[in-house]
Symmetry: D4
Subunit: 251 residues, 8 copies
């Protein structure tokens, strides 16, 4: 219920076609979302053209496939993250047009045709961080941004990141995935003048404590343009990166 | 040394006004920054018109005052964070035009005259989070954005945040400071469609473990548009927020 | 041995039908529970009509089935928590009247016929928290309270919880299950005027540290009507909730 | 704005004394609290007769005294927690009728005259836990319950708690404050049939880690009627205890 | 109330000099300790001749002096641990016969004249661990054992501990205090055939985390004759060591 | 090389049958153990009659069986801890006289015939702690002490531990195994006058953090006669308990 | 591109055989490594004769075998660490000359013929630490140093380490692998006058927290010649040890 | 007692000027250090010409001054670390030739005249890490190495470290001090071919947890030539660095 529909309702009361009691009941019964008090993700998604997202971990292949199909039927783009092989098989059987990205553990279905807006650079420190980086890249692409990938550019071989500095500097926002000591976002943060979203990965052993070491390193970054998301949360990084990149390239 | 100056140097060699040995020495001697390999913060600051920043914690009042004065002399805006009373006194004695913001523990000197670009909303959960929120707000303002403040809007009284939803929704980016359980960024993330930068504060006692509880809560946010900075890092949040807000409002 | 039976015993000594030595021996031999010094759960259970409870984790299906049968034979209600499929099969083979609740991993046998007393609202933030929420709901129902379920009402979509506010407010006590950032209990605590029992769940990944993030968030709740139980302890929350709800509805 | 006032407003529209536009504006302008969407603590406090509460830590004596005076003027009961000597002096100078409880670090002003409802037993393990126990006791008393104190009843001398078992068993809810190993709530939980609210205290040294050991112990209690609040949170325990005790003794 | 006094009471009932009601009341009124259900520390102390102990931390000098005096008046030995200078002054003013041990932060009053029983060796790794070692040594001596001190025998200079091996081997139990890496108990455990009680100290910096590193090291000792007490708990180690040493030398 | 053999060597030098150079070489070559500087476990074991011990975790069944057989051949008692079913089968095939204790995950071979010396009471809080308690009990028995078992005597039902107080009090040392909140050792420590060795078990879930909660609780015990070993270390507790119990009953 | 090749390029410009534009492009295109700004591991490896290293964990047997073969073809020595049985089979099928070291989980291919330089002593505390010690030993040997092994020399039996002191003292650097309490490096550090590299292993249970206890112990070593690497990082320890040992024995 | 003195003693026995009994007693009485079983730091120091070191933290100014004077009298170099202003004053009053290094919190006395051997490069990330870096530099210089300082070369401005790469590469060993994210050692490790000793500093706030974040980052370094010492342990890093640098430059 937006101001317009509220006015209509009150006009009906004024006209006498609705008693105050009926109007009061209708106001009480309306879900909050209709009053604009809050918007459900589903509606926002449909309006904005952003893809629907399914977090497949903890769901059976059949469940994911069913949800995926239902969403696909609405004509929007669909993304399933953390999808294993069995899930991919189930989804692709149901929706042959969907694409499985094994390294990113993602399944995508593109039904929209908008040109990309904004540029997101996705970096990862080592090849082991690649699945998380790919989750971020695939997500950002499906969400409608131009993505450049810069993989295996860890800080122990600085020339690798320095060599790609120019391209990275053209991005509107940079996503940096790194495990172990998690140093790459600080280095990148010093090289670029745009926001850097750091994704700690659970890559490492021993005192990496499943990504906690990288997480702490990133939170303590000496580069003030670095913000951090949860360990292995490539999707979340791409979601925010898309919001930023679109801002830079509003039509 | 950019491509142009490199061509000039090579042309001199071609012309014979520079021997290969001289050119080689010149290439070797030039600091990397001049080759564009990296840019020192100082230079970037001067060029971009962003303020100079002094982290006053761990510096004597005299040291901070001297650095502040030196920076002020270059004509740029200057910001000192984590400045106590004694430091403020020392700085204002040296630079009477500077302004002390006690609640933010910040000192600012504005010498530029550009109109604000972009809109940053700064929220805090309780009045105890106010110093960090003010550090963020003061920083974002000096960095040249329009800032709206929404304080004491914690989740235990939802009406407070809901009542200000409209204004917050007009911002390009939202900074949310919260201690204790750190729940506010998730709630705000669900209400707005722009990036939310969460700042855990060290407010709380017992099992808050000096902000670690809030930090963990924010990293695990169920809203995908939330990224996080270090505990009490209002400055860093504002730095990144400025980068985002400017992106939305490039001239 | 309560005051009455003690008086009887002493009266026998007075009458001479019992020598002091015999009385002394009888006093020494009696189990403490009979003296009222402490009550074993079993006896309390029988007297109070509360169900017998079996924690099935770590027990073989045969062991659980045997205990379940023995308890069932006494005519009381019986609850088995953390029961897997094999355990459920074994129990239902032995006691066909028992009911298996797969999502709650619980098995119940209802033999009493008392009307429900008190109202417990059970909320969960996301569908992944559902097993713990169902453990709480099934427990509270078998313990004799009226239970309303409010699932998938996480803080990233406030309208969902706000829409059900009225029903929740009618409960005598609210159980809130949430993983990830664990913010829901604080929000609910601000909406209702009754005790809120928060159950952190191990739902999440990375920096959720198996529920520790949610646990810390709940302990630091800014709502003073929130108390907390162990991670995934839906049973314990329901046990205490039942005690509170019965208090409000003593016959 | 409750249903009644909403009906009045709609009736005015029906009568034509209010145009739909005016009614719409009035509905939009009203704070959410008036619509019943959420209730601010202040209003709830006034209506319910519960005391106003000031968390004095981090406030200057003058600030606390001013807030205290303002609240006192409304005629309600007032409680200030975590108040040091200087704060107490400032408050008592302003409001001579207020009472300072040094061991509880609390200041109370009683202006209501209702008889106590419900019975809260407050226990503490050692004399060092007394300040937190007293904070709980003073709070529960000012909130209008009957409080019995059972101090220095730690588990290393079981006879002490056993000797007071009868009285404790008459309470509607038991608050147990303990530091060090935090074992007392489990023992008490086994002795009583009512809810036990455990308050870990920061008492201890070395591996007590400022109360974390006691907190973990209480969360892992083998007694299912134990719920837990934050370390040293005597106030929160009393707040919830009051809600429970009142439930048992509604007039 | 022991079996004898119980028989007397029952005999009175038999004789008719006590009604059953009176006997019942007397049984109910008697503290549990008198029934032998539990013994209060105080009574056990008096009977066993073990000293009374006051933990002075958190008590005012006046409080400690008063308790000390009251205990001294009963003729037993008295020990105050964690006593600062002011407390020592207050106690010695009240009880001039008491002795202050500054390095151990202890005050002792010896009033008994029994010969020492058993032999406790107290070791410490470095001179910084000395206060805790002395607390243990002073305690064990006042509790009536023969104590030998072996200080500054850390593992980085093995010859030091090896040189004193013979003496240490004659002890009935060995207390080992160590901070930093906490390795000494394992080494000593391998050299002796008696129980080793390890006391982690808070000595160290950085990753010692206030004794947590030493504590973990000791808990993981590869010598199976090592048990551990809390960080800095020299008193507790000496208490248990005394129980063991006395066992070996019962009169 | 003990004093006697050293004198013999020096006498040879005196007699001229050994040159100083030869003697010097011999002194340098002798292993330290021969000088009595240190004793290898093996030798100490043989002399003392204590069983040989094999930690079977991480060894193949064949390896454990081979070591077990080799040890058995020397005529001593042998103990294998943490032995799974396959290991038990392999050992019993090789040494049919060995006994497998499945609940303790231990295999024992008794070849000595000495009467038990000393009394060790082994307690556990719940039935889930039984494997660790049995490891302790089996170990202490094979090591030659009299063991009494007191299982399922957790603090939530105090009458259970109180009922067995008399027997427990007759032990020379008490081993207490408990998971979850780990409160039982403190309670037992207050009931008995002998050393209590606390064994935290990894029993529990959620915030038990695999036994860390119980470990911290035990380290912070308010009973000064409690010392602690590593989580699940029933063997170590029994080893030290045997040393203590033997001390009390030296022949 | 070293100074010589740079001079050549500039001379070409001087001679006119290269235009400034061509030279500029060539300078821009050259990878940074050729300019000496940074060196890729691969090139450094080839020049230095150090082996190529493959971290096989997380790679399929086929992937590791392919990389191994490609490296082997260049004629250098090759090392694969963390290689399981399947990987070893795949590699040895491809490169029959490679050697599988099962206990070290390593595969080596030696193609160089240089004599060893420098002496590295590798110690481990217990037999369970052997896999990590062997990884270190195999690595150091393939990297061209002389390695002596000293295994099972833990601190609970000091004679074992003391007996081998002389040989260990001849090494240029000592690697010490230990789990549980991690005390061995401190003891060794006190016995030798050369750098000690400590490798905490994840050996242990309970409060060893997967090697964290050993790690903390080593970081707090009281021997100042001890530095530490990550838990289970035998490879890294050997890498640094090789650098040190070669330093002592440069040709 | 070295081999020579042992031979002398045995020769005396041969000559009959010493009986076997006397020789035996003398051998038994001699401290182990004299037999070469172990060497005390003091003796090793005197022989090696390495300075004596006093850890002044926890010592009174008078104590430190006295120890310093006693050591100085032996003619060796002396170093006091963690010395505050008062300690420096006390030492310099006693030994006017000593030098106070306030930023390093160190006092040195140089009495030897040997030329430096080996080259140690000391780096620090920010100016706040300078005290620890200076402690390392001062220590390494007094220990007799050539030291080059490279301060404020943190990773957020890569050009700074790249610009000094050549000089750093000439060192035999590099010490890198860094707080916050602790990323610098990894970057430096990739730039140089010598051992890197990483010193985490306690510089930072919030989630730096007093240096724990930097420590974890360094332990997880992706550069295999990085080893780590305790937080703020500049002295230990310099001690090991000296051992390595001397190895490269043995006379």
């Amino acid at each position: 219920m937006n101001p317009t529909t509220l006015l209509h309702l009150l006009a009906e009361v004024q006209r006498g076609t609705l008693t105050p009691e009926q109007a009061s009941a209708r106001l009480a019964d309306l879900p909050f979302e209709d009053l604009g008090h809050a918007k459900i993700d589903h509606h926002r998604t449909l309006r904005s053209g952003l893809p629907e997202v399914i977090y497949a971990a903890g769901k059976t292949p059949a469940q994911t496939a069913e949800i995926f199909s239902r969403m696909a039927a609405t004509g929007v783009d669909v993304l399933a993250t953390r999808a294993d092989e069995a899930t991919a098989e189930a989804v692709l059987t149901a929706i042959p047009a969907a694409i499985h990205h094994p390294s990113a553990r993602a399944i995508t279905l593109r039904q929209s045709h908008a040109a990309p807006r904004g540029h997101v650079a996705v970096l990862c420190a080592g090849t082991s961080d690649l699945p998380i980086a790919e989750e971020a890249a695939i997500t950002a692409e499906l969400f409608g941004t131009h993505v450049t990938r810069h993989y295996d550019v860890g800080v122990a071989g600085l020339h690798r990141i320095l060599a790609q500095r120019e391209t990275i500097n053209q991005a509107n926002v940079v996503i940096v995935c790194a495990g172990m000591e998690g140093a790459l976002p600080s280095v990148v943060g010093g090289l670029v003048g745009v926001p850097v979203i750091a994704v700690p990965t659970s890559v490492g052993y021993g005192a990496s404590f499943n990504g906690a070491a990288a997480l702490l390193g990133m939170l303590n970054s000496c580069s003030p343009n670095v913000t951090v998301v949860n360990i292995d949360n490539g999707f979340g990084a791409a979601y925010t990166a898309t919001l930023i990149a679109r801002m830079a390239h509003h039509p």
